[in-house]
Symmetry: C2
Subunit: 153 residues, 2 copies
C-alpha cells in the first residue's frame, strides 16, 4: 500500500499530467500528442467525459501529482435481463510508480465504484501486445473469455 | 440483400420481440428470461438506454417483425488524442433469418452510424465459445487484436 494515495474524479487542471502519462507508454507514444498548450481535442474529450453521467475519469494522486488514471463507462444493456456493465479503458500509471501496487489499488477502487453503480459485470479489453497487462488483469480476477475486436473507421 | 428491410431506433413496443430474440440463443437461453409480462428489469434497461444520447438500440425490421437487434454505445475517450469510439453489444438476428445476410446489413448500418457520430474506431467483444461469430466479424473487417476480459461482480 502506498502512503497518502488518493482517488478522485479528474478535474480539468489534471489534464496536462494525464496526457503526459498517456503519451509515456510503448503504444501510447505512437498515438498521443503531448505538447504545450495541449491539443484542443484532449480538452474537448475531457469535457465530453465530464458532462456524461455514465462516464467517469478517475485519477490516483499523491498530493498534487497525478500518478494513475483510468476511465469507467457505465452502460445499461438489455442482455443479462437488463444488467448494467462497467467498462474500463485508458489505464495508465506513472512510470516512476511501477511495481508498487498502484495499479492494483486503482482497480480495487474501480471495482468498488462499479459495484456502487449496480453493475453486474466489469469488463475491459487489453492489447495482445501487452502480455504483462494480461497477467496483471488475470491476477485481479478478470477472465479472457472473449476476443476483443476492433475496426478502424 | 433482403427485400423491405428497414433499420431504426427501437421503440418500447419492440421490446417483447427483442427479448424473445435475446433468449432464443445458445448462450442467451441460459441468462435471459422471456415471459409475459416482461420482467421489469428489461423495461428499466430499455428506458435507461433510450434516455442516454450516447446509447442507441437499433432494430432491423421487416414490416412489423423485428428480425435483428444490436446496441451501439458512443464513448468519448482521452486516448487517441481524444477520440470517440463506438462499441457494439447484444447483437442478435431472428433464427428464421440466419444465412440471409441480415447480420451483414445490420453491421453496415451500424458502421455508417458510427462514422456519422465521428467515431474513429468500432469495437466489440465476442465470446470465444462463438467461433462462427468470430469468423463473421473477421469477414466484416474486425481484427481480434485484444483480449476481451470480464469479471463478474
Amino acid at each position: 500500500m502506498i502512503n497518502e494515495l488518493d482517488f478522485r474524479i479528474a478535474e480539468e487542471t489534471d489534464l496536462d499530467q494525464i496526457v503526459q502519462m498517456l503519451a509515456d507508454d510503448v503504444l501510447g507514444s505512437q498515438r498521443e500528442r503531448y505538447e504545450q498548450p495541449l491539443p484542443v481535442s484532449y480538452i474537448e474529450a475531457f469535457q465530453a467525459i465530464s458532462a456524461d453521467p455514465n462516464n467517469e475519469l478517475v485519477v490516483a494522486c499523491i498530493g498534487d501529482d497525478v500518478v494513475g488514471v483510468l476511465q469507467i463507462t457505465f452502460t445499461p444493456y438489455l442482455t443479462y435481463q437488463g444488467g448494467w456493465r462497467a467498462t474500463i479503458e485508458g489505464v495508465r500509471t506513472a512510470s516512476s510508480m511501477r511495481g508498487k501496487g498502484l495499479g492494483t489499488e486503482l482497480f480495487k477502487w474501480a471495482i468498488e465504484r462499479a459495484k456502487e453503480r449496480g453493475c453486474h459485470l466489469l469488463q475491459l479489453t487489453t492489447d495482445k501486445k501487452r502480455p504483462d497487462a494480461l497477467r496483471f488483469y488475470e491476477k485481479l480476477g478478470f477472465e479472457a473469455t472473449h476476443e476483443g475486436m476492433k475496426m478502424k473507421l
